[in-house]
């Protein structure tokens, strides 16, 4: 008992000839079908190159345009020849010209003789397939497809739409349960002959000849009618990408293919010399017959498809530039923005860096400087600290910073005096953790030695900017993790919010804060706000700071304040 190969070829005929010879000299008959659209000279060369082998046949040539009946007709005719001419054949294996045997054919024969009555054909009902491209699954069987998908795409799509709108349905013949599956199968003589010698075959063929992509449904459907022992998987390793075209194997897949233990793989790049050389010389090994295990290859290709469809979040580059809201993550990693903290606390950056173990920048969007952590001039990824470059494209600046420091959380200070271009970007970014002490910008002013009329004007400007930001943060489209306090609220009880923020930044630390950052001196701040009021400017964002009632003595204490819990 042996196995016979039916090969469908349309390009790279030299490789097809090589593979056919490989099988034929190992006593496996081969029937070759060559697409009618291949030039006669090339076809003749193929026939001539295999003329010395008596167990190779060529079947009548059909034009095999993808998605049409020609491929099935070609398969039927070639299979008939196989069954008639080679009575010792028990299994017929459908392969293509770009298939490559990965394991010695003796192992395949041994594998099949252990399963003499099993048909290996992927055959799934239309409800269960997830891989059909273009949304056509059951409709493959119920609509008409008179137009070429390749050459007349608009007509094709338009006619499908028209039929859907009119509610047109072809009748599926009685007793046929549409199944779909990979085109590459391996059937027993019994099953195959039952399909081909079916008394109703003329009728069934005429139905299927107008089904869309019948090569993925004809045998897959008919096999269910004639056989009970169907193993719904293909022995051919063949992976498809998101457009429905097969992934191609190259020389550098050699080890991967070796370890897959599959019998046949497609599709192989015709110039992959090393693959052809190493697998064609395969002699049967001594090891036990292993089950095919394409897991690794599956993962590789699944990853490739994911990269093509989802991409790496937060990456903006020459071949990935998502439209707004299609970013799949605006930035690469979570980051924290603090507004007002460095005004309220002395040396807040240093304290936060210690408490969370992250990089804490100063005001990286300040109008006069890009204050990277540690006063760096150039930061990760060679981002330079030029304000002109930053303001030229602030989005690129921020996304680059987050992308370049993947794996190390970034925290930075922000304020109403800084470049505000990115407030919408950050507010809509789920990776952003935004913490704001509103009105804290007034503290440096309070400490400054400027003329009061200047202070008043500046305070009015900053208050307007911050109020706008706070207002935007209340919009329904905001995705950032936002926390806001008024200055008065925060000063009342600074430790609890700080603890929350720190816990969120480094959740695994799970320890209580022992050291509090030092509050700026606020004695007289209430009076300062009152002065602003008296000058006609209404400070609204600081919360309720009563005049004369300075905050508690926590920060009046000298030395390092420790918190005892």
């Amino acid at each position: 008992m042996t196995i016979g190969f039916v090969m469908l070829c349309h390009t790279a005929l030299e490789r097809a000839s090589e593979v056919a010879r490989h099988w034929a000299i190992r006593n496996c008959p081969v029937v070759i079908h060559v697409d009618r659209r291949v030039a006669v000279a090339k076809y003749d060369a193929l026939v001539k190159s295999l003329a010395d082998l008596e167990n190779i046949r060529f079947s009548g040539r059909h034009a095999c345009e993808w998605g049409t009946w020609g491929i099935v007709a070609a398969t039927q005719e070639a299979s008939m020849i196989m069954l008639q001419d080679f009575p010792t054949v028990r299994h017929v294996y459908l392969a293509s010209g770009s298939c490559l045997p990965l394991r010695p054919v003796e192992e395949l024969i041994a594998y099949l003789s252990e399963r003499p009555r099993t048909n290996f054909i992927e055959s799934v009902t239309t409800e269960d397939v997830g891989w059909t491209i273009g949304g056509l699954d059951l409709e493959r069987f119920t609509l008409r497809f008179p137009f070429s998908w390749r050459k007349q795409r608009r007509l094709f799509d338009g006619y499908v739409r028209l039929q859907r709108r009119l509610g047109f349905r072809r009748q599926i013949p009685k007793g046929i349960m549409p199944h779909l599956g990979s085109q590459w199968w391996c059937l027993t003589r019994q099953t195959l002959s039952a399909i081909l010698e079916n008394p109703d075959r003329a009728e069934i063929d005429s139905y299927f000849s107008r089904v869309w992509i019948p090569d993925e449904s004809y045998f897959q459907t008919m096999v269910r009618q004639v056989s009970d022992s169907v193993e719904s998987r293909s022995l051919t390793l063949s992976k498809f990408d998101f457009q429905g075209k097969p992934h191609i194997f190259y020389d550098d897949h050699l080890q991967l293919l070796r370890r897959s233990d599959c019998f046949v793989a497609r599709k192989i790049w015709p110039h992959a010399d090393r693959l052809y050389q190493s697998f064609m010389g395969n002699e049967p090994g001594a090891q036990a017959i292993a089950e095919p295990n394409p897991g690794k290859i599956d993962r590789l290709f699944a990853k490739a498809v994911e990269r093509r469809t989802k991409g790496r979040p937060g990456l903006y580059m020459q071949s990935r530039h998502p439209n707004e809201n299609w970013e799949n993550g605006r930035t690469a990693a979570p980051y924290s923005m603090f507004e007002g903290f460095s005004d309220l606390f002395e040396n807040f950056e240093v304290w936060l860096g210690k408490a969370t173990g992250t990089r804490v920048h100063g005001h990286i969007f300040a109008p006069d400087a890009v204050n990277f952590a540690g006063g760096e001039k150039i930061y990760n990824g060679a981002i330079c600290n030029s304000t002109a470059t930053r303001d030229y494209n602030p989005t690129s600046f921020l996304t680059n910073l987050i992308w370049n420091t993947r794996g190390e959380r970034q925290c930075f200070q922000f304020g109403p005096q800084d470049n505000q271009t990115l407030i919408y970007f950050m507010a809509g970014d789920p990776n952003a953790q935004i913490s704001i002490i509103s009105g804290a910008w007034a503290i440096p002013m309070f400490h400054s030695n400027r003329n009061f009329s200047d202070i008043r004007r500046e305070a009015a400007r900053l208050q307007k900017i911050e109020a706008h930001f706070l207002n935007e943060l209340r919009k329904p489209w905001v995705k950032a993790r936002v926390r806001t306090w008024t200055l008065a609220e925060f000063v009342e009880n600074p430790m609890e919010p700080l603890q929350n923020i720190v816990d969120e930044i480094s959740p695994r630390a799970m320890r209580r804060l022992t050291e509090a950052p030092r509050l700026a001196d606020l004695s007289g701040f209430g009076q300062f706000l009152q002065n602003l009021r008296n000058q006609g400017m209404q400070p609204a964002l600081m919360g309720d700071f009563p005049t004369g009632d300075d905050p508690r003595p926590l920060h009046a204490r000298r030395g390092r304040p420790y918190l005892v819990k």
């Binding site: 110039h271 989802k310 020459q318 071949s319 530039h321 470059t389």
Partner: protein, 336 residues
């Protein structure tokens, strides 16, 4: 995009093609071996001036990728480049004394040659200091890439220009003929590139890298463009608009995914900052033949004369294409 602007772009394309047709008179054939070009071969087009010392490595590099034929325009070299190229069996050479600037920096000349010899071929347009790297370029020849692009119905492939530089002054170690320039200049900036969209032509406009960081940090809008689309399945109806930054019809510029995914892309390693650079900058300043009144070269010259060191502690040292992929400078897309 309205019908009117579409029509204007069509007119622009016709105009560039006609201009290329006119400029063909400026080209004088030195050796024409284009009869040897066979269908399906990959062709390389280039313009150059006085690059003799770089040529041996350049030709070796691209031959090893699988370029079958080089079509080169020599812009009046006087250092032996022409004689050297004419002697190569796989080079077809044209020469011209005409103005580089008025041929739009060589674009017109190459557009003409491409429409004449490149139709139906995959064509790669690079300068002699640009070295094409693509996914799997260490294990798969260029033909594997173009076959895959064909199978995926992709007509153009982008490769961002990646400026490479040495540690220390450019002229610390002189470049020797035949040497891999990236032995001397192996460093690059990994993550300071600024990307924006050009809605008129549909391409991305990328700036950044060491040049922006050092020479243009106070006028970033003038920093040179780094987006390039050097590999195209050429049709005689196509035309490059400005260098290889963008093409018409504009569909060819859509080499990026807009819905979150990544398309496959490569990089052009740019070996500009070698000891030859100062000389070149000086010469170009005299000729005033470069883009935007040689603004770029003027900025460099100001920098070069104070001995700039492009290297910084965040500079990455080039290893291979996988490194560039991980850093997010290029992508495999769904090619695996």
């Amino acid at each position: 995009m309205g019908i009117f602007s579409q029509y204007m772009l069509r007119l622009a394309r016709k105009r560039w093609r006609f201009r290329a047709f006119r400029k063909r008179r400026e080209l004088q054939s030195v050796v024409n071996r284009t009869k040897a070009i066979k269908p399906e071969q990959i062709l390389l087009f280039s313009t150059l001036r006085n690059e003799r010392v770089r040529l041996p490595f350049f030709l070796r590099y691209y031959r090893s990728l699988g370029i079958s034929h080089f079509l080169i325009v020599d812009n009046n070299s006087d250092d032996g480049s022409r004689e050297y190229l004419a002697a190569q069996p796989d080079v077809s050479l044209w020469t011209t004394k005409a103005s580089y600037k008025r041929s739009r920096f060589g674009v017109d000349w190459l557009n003409w040659l491409q429409s004449k010899y490149g139709h139906g071929h995959w064509t790669l347009v690079v300068d002699p200091d640009e070295f094409f790297v693509y996914p799997f370029s260490d294990t798969r020849p260029l033909r594997a890439l173009t076959d895959w692009l064909d199978a995926s119905s992709i007509k153009s492939f982008s490769a961002m220009l990646l400026d490479m530089y040495p540690k220390g002054p450019f002229d610390l170690t002189p470049y020797q003929e035949g040497q891999d320039p990236f032995d001397l200049a192996p460093y690059f900036d990994s993550g300071n590139y600024v990307v924006q969209r050009n809605y008129k032509f549909g391409n991305l406009w990328i700036q950044g890298g060491p040049r922006m960081r050092m020479f243009f940090q106070d006028m970033p809008e003038r920093a040179p463009a780094l987006n390039k689309i050097p590999l195209v399945k050429w049709d005689r109806a196509y035309t490059y608009v400005s260098s290889t930054h963008m093409l018409l019809p504009r569909g060819l510029n859509l080499t990026y995914d807009e819905w979150g995914g990544e398309k496959a892309s490569g990089c052009l390693l740019h070996a500009k900052f070698l000891d030859t650079f100062a000389l070149k900058a000086e010469e170009e300043m005299q000729r005033r033949q470069h883009y935007a009144n040689s603004h770029e070269y003027r900025a460099y010259r100001a920098g070069v004369s104070t001995q700039p060191d492009l290297w910084c502690k965040w500079s990455e040292k080039y290893i291979n294409w996988r490194q560039l992929e991980i850093l997010g400078l290029m992508s495999k897309g769904n090619w695996a």
